[in-house]
């Protein structure tokens, strides 16, 4: 047999044997009190590529389970794995296509030396983490240098009290093409943390009551996040040092505090913010160093400041948005025009008229109030909000503008709330 023939045979054999091996030899390993396996760790060690491990309900006191072969782990009837405050629980180590689903994972160790997680995915691609409930973990789900990972429908609820001793619910570092969908994240440092992550989707998650940010985004380009709810987080949502971000249909609400934002944009370029709702935040959107942003069809209601746009922003186009019942609509730190545009928005505080009935007011709307300008200089003056004195100042300023920037105005303020 010549070498060609040998190769053909080898190829054939390989082609036949690999799938055949999977179908023929893959087996289920059951874990429960009375099963052949009573320990998940032993079952994982005994398993071979392609095996399924089925864990029946019960409480398993185990930790540091390392998965280094292509297997699936499924909890049946909500089995609990309790790490007892020792180390993490699952680590997928340089192995692709691992599935972990249906577990309740508890009590991961809090450490200042090592980032222990309930589920850690390390240098492994195409893994799926779904339908798990993670309670009182240091880190919830941690992905490092892993691509095409799906994190779906998990519930990660921590009991973090201090930022320094708490980790993130979902933490991604150097990952691409991840899908983070339908998760519920609460009580951690950050709900979702992205650093050096690209081409990923964050959809339909609910991130609430986290100590720092509901979503924290750094150096992560070309990502999409939509239809998420971020509420009552310590500082709201921060998106920083990234470009090509699409933010669509999210709800940012009730983020209160001295440094709390619905959405903080820092050095963001070529991105869009569409159809989001910002409601009841101290600052709805705070943008600095951000360029070429499309801000369209969003609604701001009952925020302290709807939109703070700092002088370092350029080409931010704010069109067809609704600004309803905000204490302050727009605040601008710098007296520099920039090339930012406000056009065709609805402002509930607009006092002009529309005599020509074309749907937009006949006089421009100036959304920057004198008082908000004063607050930039002396934040404590906020206690004078709506006092007779500041109202008088406001009136005087309206008649003869001296301090408020002339250039921030909407030439075509919409008379009616914009619907889409």
């Amino acid at each position: 047999m010549n070498s060609f023939g040998y190769h053909i045979i080898l190829l054939l054999f390989t082609a036949l044997s690999l799938p055949a091996g999977n179908f023929a030899f893959a087996k289920d390993l059951e874990v429960c009190n009375t099963c052949a396996w009573t320990s998940i760790k032993q079952a994982v060690e005994a398993a071979e590529e392609g095996d399924r491990i089925l864990v029946r309900s019960g409480i398993y006191y185990e930790n540091s389970i390392t998965i280094n072969k292509k297997i699936s782990l499924s909890g049946k009837g909500n089995p609990v794995i309790d790490a007892g405050k020792m180390n993490g629980i699952f680590t997928i180590d340089k192995t692709d296509s691992v599935l972990i689903e249906g577990f309740i994972l508890r009590n991961v160790e809090v450490s200042y030396r090592k980032d222990f997680a309930a589920i850690k995915v390390f240098r492994s691609n195409y893994c799926i983490i779904r339908n798990n409930s993670i309670e009182n973990a240091f880190f919830g789900i941690q992905l490092e240098k892993s691509d095409y990972t799906s994190v779906l429908e998990n519930k990660v609820v921590g009991e973090a009290i201090k930022e320094a001793s708490s980790g993130n619910a979902i933490h991604l570092w150097y990952c691409n093409n991840a899908s983070i969908e339908g998760n519920y994240l609460q009580g951690h440092r950050d709900g979702i943390y992205f650093e050096f992550v690209s081409s990923s989707v964050i959809r339909n998650n609910r991130s609430t009551g986290n100590l720092r940010y509901g979503l924290h985004f750094m150096f992560s380009d070309n990502n999409l996040y939509q239809e998420n709810t971020f509420s009552k987080n310590g500082a709201g949502v921060a998106v920083m040092y990234s470009k090509g971000i699409e933010m669509t249909g999210n709800l940012f609400s009730d983020n209160w505090g001295a440094a709390a934002y619905g959405l903080l944009l820092k050095d963001i370029t070529d991105s869009s913010i569409r159809r989001n709702t910002f409601s009841g935040n101290t600052i709805g959107v705070h943008a600095e160093g951000s360029n070429r942003l499309q801000v369209e069809q969003n609604t701001w209601t009952r925020n302290g400041w709807a939109f703070k746009i700092m002088g370092s922003c350029d080409e931010v186009k704010i069109t067809e948005n609704n600004f309803i019942s905000n204490t302050f609509e727009v605040s601008s730190g710098a007296a520099r025009a920039g090339s930012n545009v406000f056009d065709g928005n609805y402002w509930s505080s607009y006092t002009g008229y529309d005599l020509d009935k074309d749907g937009s007011g006949d006089v421009p709307h100036r959304p920057v109030k004198l008082f908000s300008y004063l607050l930039e200089k002396s934040p404590h003056a906020i206690v004078l909000l709506r006092s007779m004195f500041t109202d008088l100042l406001e009136l005087a300023e309206k008649v003869t503008p001296v301090l408020t920037p002339e250039f921030i105005k909407d030439e075509n303020p919409s008379i009616k709330i914009i619907k889409w």
Partner: protein, 261 residues
């Protein structure tokens, strides 16, 4: 029946039937009613209603109070010649007066709420009612205190208006100036203190906290936040408000008690 209660009763009858009380009631009925009717809902117009309350309630209380004092001086002489402690007499007059002013205000705003309000705004309504009532009691006490200090009507009147203007506008102007002069320093405590010292500011902040807490609780940092947001802060504010009723009232009663008429 206690003698003060008797005086309260008749003062109440007398003032409640006066044109003032009816005008005052109608004013709140029409203005707040109008605001509510033309706006999207109770919560939306609360800020405007609050401003009206902060403006009108102290003004009417202080003007009506001092007018009442000067007009009833002769009758007070007759009453003082009756078997009655002076303190009871003047306390009764004060309570009857402040009570009827509060009642006009509460009836006006309450009726409007029944017509246009909704149950979810009841907390705000109660807050507004509380603020308006306490302001009525404070500024009526201030008015009587001014009256007993100055025999001369014109002088008393001028000083009463000045006090009103000071509490409403001038104080806040000075406050703002203070904040700007000392902007380099940490001012949370000073700002909190400043706002407690003026009952109009205090009333405004107590309502604002329910209304625009996003802005108020957010920006002024931990001290202010902690102070007005917590039970103890609310207790201190409430206590400060009561102190503002008590101080002018007590010095009015003391002065009236020892004065030669």
């Amino acid at each position: 029946m206690n003698n003060s209660l008797k005086i309260i009763k008749y003062t109440f009858y007398d003032t409640l039937r006066s044109w003032w009380a009816i005008l005052y009631f109608m004013f709140f009925l029409l203005v707040t009613g109008g605001l509510l009717y033309f706006s999207a809902g109770f919560t939306h117009s609360v800020a405007s209603i609050l401003n009206i309350i902060l403006f009108i309630v102290p003004l009417v209380s202080i003007v009506f109070g001092i007018m009442y004092y000067y007009n009833s001086r002769e009758f007070a002489l007759l009453l003082m010649a009756q078997p009655l402690r002076r303190r009871q007499l003047f306390l009764g007059q004060y309570l009857g007066l402040a009570g009827s002013l509060s009642l006009s205000f509460l009836a006006g705003i309450g009726l409007v709420f029944l017509l246009f309000g909704s149950m979810e705004a009841i907390g705000l309504l109660l807050m507004l009612m509380f603020a308006g009532t306490v302001l009525s009691f404070i500024f009526t006490a201030v008015a009587l205190w001014v009256g007993v200090q100055y025999e001369d009507r014109t002088k008393g009147f001028g000083i009463a208006i000045l006090i009103w203007l000071f509490a409403l506008v001038i104080y806040d102007g000075l406050f703002l100036a203070f904040l700007f002069v000392f902007e380099e320093y940490p001012l949370e405590k000073a700002a909190t203190g400043f706002s407690i010292l003026n009952p109009v500011d205090l009333a405004r902040i107590m309502v604002m906290l329910r209304l625009e807490s996003a802005a108020l609780l957010g920006f002024t940092g931990a001290v202010f936040n902690k102070f007005f947001g917590t039970v103890s802060g609310i207790a201190v504010s409430g206590f400060a408000m009561l102190l503002w009723v008590f101080l002018p009232l007590q010095s009015f009663l003391r002065k009236a008690g020892n004065k030669d008429f």
